[in-house]
C-alpha cells in the first residue's frame, strides 16, 4: 500500500463549489430550436392546462457527496499525487400525493478514494472501506472533486431504478446527462449558468408569472434535448427569481415532450420551498432538501471519518 498523508486543512475549504446567484451569466453557443411547441414569433407564457392531473406518485432523486479528507500519496520514486477520500450517497423520495406520505424509497451510500496515483490501493479505515477510483490525467487536486460525480450519478440511477412503478414521474436533481434513457423522467436544473435563448425569447421567460412555463424548445448540444423554463411560486419580482429549467430526453417526440412539460407545471410548484426555511428557495424543492438532510446523515460523521482516516494513514506509515 502506498503511504498517504491526510491534509490538515478541513476538506470544505478545498471544495467550495460555484455558488450561483442572479441569472445566467454567459450566453451559450448551443443551437436552439425554439419552434417545437409554438413558432418563435408566437412565444408566450403558458399556464396550467385544466385537463392535466398531477401523477399520484412522484419520485425525486438526488445525491450528496462530501470530501472526508484530502490526502497525498508518497510514491516509490519520491513523487506525490493528491487524492481525496469522498463519501457519496444517492437516494429516492417517493412522494405519494394520494396518501400524503413522503418516504425514503431507497438510499445507497458509497465511498471512494479518488486519485491519479498508479500505486494507490483501497483504504480501510476501521470498518469503513474507500475503494480506489483511479482518475486519469495528471490528477491535480482541482480535478478530483468533479470525478466523484460519475460514480454518484451511477448510484442515483441504481437507486431510482429500484423504486420505479408504473405511472410515476421521476424528477432528477440536475441535468439528465447520461440518464436520458429513463422513462417519464425530468431533469430539474436549479441554477441557470448559460443563456440559451435570444433576448426576445428571454423576455418571455423573465415575464413568466408564478405557475407558468415557457414553450418547449430543443437544444442542439451533445447532451441536448427538450427543455423549458418554469417559474415556481415566488414573491420576489426579480427577473430570474424562481425560474428553473426542466429538460427531458431528446429521444421523445415533440408531443411527448409537451405532455411532460404540462405535467411538470402541475407537479413541481407544490414542492417549492419557502425562503425562510431554505436559502435556495424556492428552487430547492422540499423533498430534495429533506432527502439531502437524510443522505448527509447517512454519510456518517465527517469528524469521525477524518479521525479514522488519519489513524489509518498513521498505521500504514509505521
Amino acid at each position: 500500500m502506498t503511504r498517504f498523508f491526510v491534509d490538515a486543512w478541513d476538506p470544505a475549504y478545498g471544495a467550495s463549489f460555484e455558488a450561483g446567484g442572479g441569472g445566467p451569466a454567459a450566453p451559450s453557443s448551443a443551437q436552439v430550436d425554439a419552434d417545437v411547441e409554438l413558432p418563435a414569433v408566437d412565444w408566450r407564457a403558458i399556464g396550467v392546462r385544466r385537463d392535466v392531473l398531477a401523477p399520484e406518485v412522484v419520485l425525486l432523486v438526488d445525491g450528496v457527496r462530501r470530501i472526508d479528507a484530502s490526502l497525498w500519496t508518497a510514491e516509490e520514486d519520491g513523487g506525490s499525487f493528491p487524492g481525496i477520500a469522498a463519501s457519496y450517497a444517492a437516494g429516492v423520495v417517493r412522494c405519494d400525493l394520494e396518501r400524503g406520505a413522503a418516504e425514503l424509497a431507497g438510499a445507497r451510500v458509497s465511498r471512494g478514494l479518488f486519485t491519479a496515483s498508479p500505486s494507490a490501493e483501497d483504504v480501510v479505515a476501521g470498518r469503513v472501506r474507500y475503494p480506489v477510483h483511479r482518475v486519469g490525467g495528471t490528477g491535480e487536486l482541482s480535478k478530483l472533486p468533479p470525478a466523484v460525480q460519475g460514480p454518484l450519478t451511477a448510484l442515483e440511477v441504481e437507486v431510482s431504478n429500484a423504486a420505479r412503478i408504473d405511472g410515476d414521474l421521476l424528477v432528477v436533481d440536475g441535468p439528465l446527462r447520461s440518464r436520458r434513457q429513463l422513462p417519464r423522467t425530468l431533469g430539474y436544473i436549479k441554477t441557470q449558468h448559460s443563456q440559451y435563448l435570444d433576448a426576445r425569447l428571454t423576455a418571455v421567460v423573465t415575464g413568466l408569472t408564478p405557475g407558468q412555463r415557457s414553450p418547449v424548445f430543443r437544444l442542439g448540444t451533445a447532451w441536448g434535448g427538450y427543455s423549458w423554463y418554469l417559474r415556481l411560486p415566488v414573491t420576489s419580482g426579480a427577473p430570474w427569481a424562481g425560474i428553473v429549467r426542466v429538460e427531458c430526453s431528446a429521444e421523445l417526440t415533440d408531443a411527448q415532450a409537451i405532455e411532460l412539460a404540462d405535467l411538470s407545471l402541475v407537479t413541481l410548484p407544490r414542492f417549492a420551498s419557502t425562503p425562510y426555511k431554505d436559502p435556495r428557495a424556492p428552487q430547492n424543492l422540499i423533498p430534495i432538501a429533506g432527502l439531502e438532510r437524510r443522505l448527509r446523515g447517512l454519510l456518517g460523521d465527517a469528524r469521525l471519518l477524518h479521525r479514522v482516516l488519519t489513524a489509518a494513514a498513521r498505521g500504514i506509515r509505521r
Binding site: V93, K277, L285, I286, P287, G290
Partner: protein
C-alpha cells in the same frame, strides 16, 4: 452485542439509543417500527461484559416520546403530512432501571436489543420473584397483576400504608378496603388471616357500611379480573358495624339511615369515662394542647378516676348521683366554681381564668358528646368497640358525628385497642386500622392525645402488630414521622400544588405529572423493594359501596341483632326440623 433471546423475555421492541446518554439507572430506547412501548411497560436488556457473566438490566418505561426525524421547523409537519417532505416518525422511551442482575452498575450498550419483559422476566424485573408472600394489588397497565410484598405490610420488615389523593377522585378508601380484602382473602397471611382483624373508621357518607353486602353491579368481567388476581369476587364475609346512638333517643338505637340491620350502637358509660380517664380525649383538638388548661384536664380526670363510683349505669361522686354526661359536666363546673372544692379538683396553683377556660370548653362539649357518654342505659348491654371480640372487620361509623365527637371516638378507640395489643405483647393476630383524614387527627403542627396515639402506632405498631392504613388528601399536612414510618406509599390523583411537595419525592417527574390526571381506580404504589412506583388499577369493589348497590344482606346480620328481629314472626317457621318444635 448478542441479539439472541434472553431466557424468557418477550418480543424485541427496540434498541438502546446512543444519541442520549445511557446510564445504569436511566436510559432511552428507540422503539422499532411496528412496535410500541407505553408508560409502565416493563422491558429488559442485556450487557455483555468481558470475562464476566452478562448483566441483565430491567426497567420500567417512565416516559415515551415521538418525533419527526428530518424535520427542522415546526411547520415542516404540514409538508410531511402533505407528502412532500420525507421524514420518519421515531418513538423513544425512557426506561428507569428497576433491577440490575448481577449487581454491576454498567450502562447498557447503545444498540443493544430491548425486549418487552413478559412472564418470569417481568416478575424478576419488578422483584416479584424475591417476594416470598405477595399480595395482589391490582393490574398493571399491561393487564398483568402487580403485587405488594407482604413483608412490608405485616411488620416483618416494615408496616403501615400512607394513601394520598384528592377527595372523591383518588378513591383512597376504596383502595384501602380492596387492599384489606386482598390481604384477608389471598391467603398470604396463612393461618394468621383467620384471626387478623381490621378496624375501619367510616368518616364520609355511609359508604363503608355495606362491606358485607355483595355488589349488585358486579359483572362477569370484574369477576374475571378478581380471578386473575387470584381472588374470589365477593363481599367481606365477617363484618360488624357500629354506629353512635341517635340523638335524644333514650333507648340508644344506632343512628344510621340506609343500613337498617346488623348495626350495633357504641357508647361509653359514665363509669368507664371516669375510670379509664377519657376526659383528655374530649379536648383532642391540636389547639387545646397549647392552652394552659391541660393541667386542669388531667387533674380533673385524675379526680374523677379516684372518686367516681359506678352507680346503676351512671356514677356517683361525693354522694351525688349523675345520670348523664350533661349532669357530669354541670357537676364538675359547679365544683370548680366553688372556692372550697376548686383546689380539690383543679389543683392549688391554678388561676381562676384557666379554670374558667376549661369550664367553658367542657360545657361546649355537652351537646357533641352527650349521646356517646351515657349513664341511662343498661350497664350489661354490649356497647364497646373491641376488635378482639368483634368480627374480622369492624366498621365504626363517624359520619354524622360532629368534629369533636369524631376525635373523641377515634382517640379513645385507638387508645384502647393499642393498649390491649400492648398488654397482649405479641404481634399476632394483626390489627389493620384504616383511618381517613389523617391530617385532621395527626396534623404536622401541634400535638394532641390522638396524635400521640397515632405516633405510637406508627413507631411501635409494627412490632405490636398494629398496622396503620392512613389516608389523607395532603401528605404534606400530616405529621412527618407518621408518613416516614409508612413502608408503603400510595398516591391517587393529586392536587397540582400538592404534587410538587417533597413528600412525593418518591414519584419520578413523569409520574408526578401523571398523578395530576390519574383516573379513579388508578394508583401509584411505592414499596421499599422496587425503586420505581408501580402504576396499577384495582378492580371495581365486589362489595356494595352504597345502598343502591347493596345486594341481599347476609343472613348472619339478621340473626345477631335483636332490634331487627321481627316480633310477629312465627318462631321456627321455615327453619329446619332441628329447631325445637312448639
Amino acid at each position: 452485542m448478542t441479539d439472541d433471546l434472553l431466557d424468557g423475555p418477550g418480543e424485541a421492541v427496540g434498541r438502546v439509543l446512543g444519541t442520549a446518554d445511557a446510564t445504569p439507572l436511566t436510559f432511552w430506547t428507540a422503539v422499532s417500527p411496528g412496535s410500541y412501548l407505553q408508560l409502565d411497560d416493563v422491558v429488559v436488556t442485556r450487557r455483555e461484559l468481558p470475562d464476566r457473566e452478562p448483566v441483565t438490566i430491567a426497567g420500567v418505561v417512565t416516559q415515551v416520546r415521538a418525533r419527526h426525524e428530518g424535520a427542522q421547523f415546526d411547520s415542516d409537519v404540514f409538508a410531511i403530512a402533505d407528502g412532500t417532505l420525507p421524514a420518519q416518525v421515531q418513538e423513544a422511551a425512557e426506561v428507569t432501571t428497576t433491577r440490575v442482575d448481577p449487581e454491576l452498575y454498567v450502562p447498557p450498550t447503545p444498540g443493544a436489543v430491548v425486549h418487552r419483559a413478559e412472564g418470569d422476566a417481568r416478575a424478576r424485573a419488578l422483584h416479584f420473584d424475591r417476594m416470598e408472600r405477595r399480595i395482589p394489588m391490582g393490574m398493571g397497565r399491561d393487564g398483568v397483576p402487580v403485587y405488594l410484598n407482604a413483608d412490608f405490610l405485616d411488620g416483618t420488615r416494615g408496616a403501615h400504608v400512607s394513601i394520598s389523593g384528592i377527595s372523591g377522585v383518588a378513591t383512597k378508601t376504596s383502595f384501602a378496603t380492596f387492599l384489606l380484602y386482598s390481604v384477608f382473602r389471598s391467603g398470604v397471611l396463612g393461618g394468621d388471616a383467620v384471626n387478623a382483624k381490621a378496624l375501619i373508621f367510616n368518616v364520609k357518607g355511609e359508604d363503608l357500611l355495606f362491606l358485607d353486602h355483595p355488589n349488585t353491579r358486579l359483572d362477569d368481567a370484574t369477576r374475571a379480573e378478581y380471578a386473575r388476581l387470584g381472588l374470589d369476587a365477593g363481599a367481606f364475609p365477617d363484618v360488624r358495624v357500629y354506629a353512635p346512638p341517635r340523638v335524644g333517643d333514650s333507648s340508644g338505637t344506632p343512628d344510621v339511615s340506609s343500613r337498617l340491620t346488623g348495626v350495633d350502637s357504641f357508647y361509653w358509660t359514665l363509669s368507664e369515662f371516669c375510670a379509664d380517664r377519657l376526659l383528655p380525649y374530649v379536648f383532642a383538638d391540636a389547639d387545646d394542647e397549647r392552652q394552659q388548661y391541660t393541667m386542669v384536664v388531667h387533674s380533673v380526670a385524675a379526680h374523677l378516676a379516684r372518686y367516681a363510683q359506678p352507680a346503676d349505669g351512671g356514677v356517683s361522686i361525693d354522694g351525688v348521683r349523675l345520670g348523664s354526661y350533661a349532669d357530669l359536666v354541670d357537676h364538675i363546673v359547679e365544683q370548680l366554681n366553688d372556692d372550697e372544692t376548686r383546689s380539690d379538683w383543679a389543683g392549688s396553683a391554678v388561676g381562676l381564668g384557666t379554670v374558667n377556660a376549661f369550664a367553658r370548653r367542657l360545657i361546649g362539649s355537652k351537646k357533641d358528646l352527650g349521646r356517646l357518654i351515657r349513664g341511662d342505659l343498661a350497664t350489661r348491654r354490649p356497647h364497646s368497640i373491641n376488635t378482639a371480640e368483634s368480627a374480622q372487620v369492624t366498621v365504626v361509623d363517624l359520619h354524622n358525628l360532629p368534629d369533636r365527637a369524631q376525635r373523641f371516638v377515634v382517640g379513645v378507640t385507638l387508645k384502647s385497642e393499642f393498649e390491649r395489643k400492648e398488654k397482649a405483647g405479641t404481634a399476632k393476630p394483626l390489627l389493620f386500622v384504616v383511618l381517613d383524614e389523617l391530617n385532621k387527627y395527626a396534623p404536622r403542627e401541634g400535638s394532641s392525645p390522638i396524635k400521640e396515639v397515632l405516633l405510637d402506632i406508627a413507631e411501635r405498631g409494627r412490632s405490636l402488630g398494629v398496622i396503620l392504613v392512613g389516608a389523607q388528601q395532603t401528605a404534606s399536612e400530616v405529621e412527618r414521622r407518621i408518613v416516614t414510618n409508612s413502608a408503603i406509599r400510595v398516591v391517587g390523583r393529586l392536587d397540582p400544588a400538592e404534587a410538587s411537595r417533597p413528600e412525593y419525592g418518591f414519584l419520578p417527574p413523569a409520574q408526578r405529572q401523571r398523578a395530576l390526571l390519574a383516573k379513579p381506580g388508578t394508583m401509584f404504589v411505592n414499596q421499599p423493594d422496587i425503586p420505581v412506583p408501580l402504576c396499577l388499577e384495582f378492580p371495581f369493589p365486589a362489595w356494595a359501596t352504597r345502598v343502591s348497590e347493596a345486594g341481599r344482606a347476609p343472613s348472619e346480620t339478621l340473626r345477631s341483632i335483636t332490634q331487627s328481629a321481627d316480633p310477629f314472626a312465627v318462631v321456627g317457621s321455615g327453619t329446619t326440623d332441628d329447631d325445637i318444635p312448639f
